[in-house]
Symmetry: C3
Subunit: 212 residues, 3 copies
């Protein structure tokens, strides 16, 4: 129950970021709703298609469809207010990122994938929706260039996977594993936002070919 | 039999619109063919992958591959003529939209999805190919900004789904449901084209954040 | 065993081309790795999702994930050198193209698809990764406009499919079919690069509508 609420909450925040991009790109209400849905649910859809968990969970439970629709409509109506809450949305988005990288990785493990693929699918769950949002909005995914976003999610997914795999051995109860994994991602992401941490850009190192 | 002919006809018109975009973007023949195929078949592919009806029907029946190829080649050869038939193509495209939103939704119902997800997959079937066309051609999907296109398709799909679900109760024979659903979408889309109806754009309401 | 090595080699070269695009687009290390992975593995992922061979093979074997990661990191570190090896990379990329169009088509045949869809999925395997790379990097797929790339791959896939289907009849041993198919694609692609062969662009034929 708690997990469903957290899940829907994460989808709502992701959908808000998608809807805001849609409003700022001057799309109509339908476009705003599509960006909200794609951002909120897209990562999970890609994961579910790749691990063959189709139809995706979000298509079997109407709440998962209502939540991004609500986020999209709210943004269409009150985007000046919502757009000004960027700091709050950033923090909530970090929480959604932390949640999805862990739950996505654990779902992939459940479906029989190995540790490394499962961690990658956790990452996909967490950042896939935002990448689809950016493609639909006609821009290079911001996760390729902005402050650290993917690395914390991947490390969070890795911790979740390794912790779960060792579970039998070390006897760490699952909630501990999940909390450490999600907490690491969350704190790291918040610090990255606050301090402007970025991943290095190889193209900036002055190599001759990089100017092309 | 009639349904297959209608289906192939819809794919042909969609593929024409894709091929025309390819020619206008100055792609080579191969690019024109890919845009024709993606526009004609893409929506159905996405639906089939999501409801796990793979391999998609179009990969099991060579006619479904020949039709967009024929549309692509015809456009490559005679695009000045075809490009001038924009009004006719617009009407036929509205017919394809009306057909696919209904058949897509009914196929999703058949595969056990609930009414709302089935209607959304009907919408996906109808507009997915055009969205893929636009992504491949490097532009924001026109369905996010132009005259009403998605709303009639979604409402058509909803009518088809609700009518079919109520079928047992009301005893409406299926052809009636299908005709009302597709007819609503078709007339609405034609009116939208004729009168320039558009969905509201939240970003134009003068909110401060919309200018970013 | 030889096939696995060739397969990994092809993925490595494809991933190099993806990573170079990422460096030149000034993405960060994470973006470079994603482009490397998408280019190296994307075509196979799309094929496996469409023929329902999920989870894709690359998610079940960690070597398939390590290879594009290695290519991405190598490019991030030494891109000025790697970027200067364009001729060598072009030849190796042609080899990867030739390999993937054949192996992709044969895998689709194995999963029960007909000859024409199987050839199309061979083409998808060979060029899908590069198309995803270009979409993620914000550009129209180069395969739609540059020197012949898709046509040799499609013909190679067709030869592989037809040769395999006739196998019982003509008794051509499989290695012969594979070699002829891959060799045709390889030589044709090399000649196209060397002589600048391009597919015709319908939009250049001076039709009035092409200027839009």
């Amino acid at each position: 129950m708690l997990l469903v609420i957290l899940d829907l909450g994460g989808i709502f925040v992701f959908a808000l970021t998608g809807a805001l991009v849609g409003v700022r790109k001057d799309l109509d209400v339908f476009g705003v709703l599509v960006l909200a849905g794609a951002t909120g649910l897209g990562g999970g859809f890609v994961r579910d298609v790749l691990i063959d968990a189709t139809p995706p969970a979000a298509l079997a439970d109407w709440r998962y469809l209502m939540v991004p629709a609500a986020a999209g409509l709210a943004t269409a109506l009150w985007h000046p207010t919502i757009g000004r809450m960027e700091r709050v949305i950033g923090v909530l988005d970090a929480a959604g990122l932390s949640l999805f990288c862990v739950t996505g990785a654990l779902k992939a493990l459940e479906y029989g994938l190995g540790p490394l693929p499962a961690a990658l699918l956790g990452l996909t769950t967490a950042i896939g929706g935002g990448m689809i949002r950016d493609l639909l909005a006609g821009r290079v995914p911001v996760v390729f260039r902005a402050e650290l976003y993917a690395t914390p999610a991947f490390v969070g997914a890795l911790i979740a996977v390794i912790g779960t795999e060792l579970d039998g051995t070390l006897g760490a109860p699952e909630p501990v594993v999940v909390s450490v994994a999600a907490g690491t991602c969350f704190v790291w992401r918040l610090l990255a936002m606050r301090r402007g941490w970025q991943a290095p850009r190889p193209g900036l190192r002055g190599g001759g070919s990089a100017s092309t």
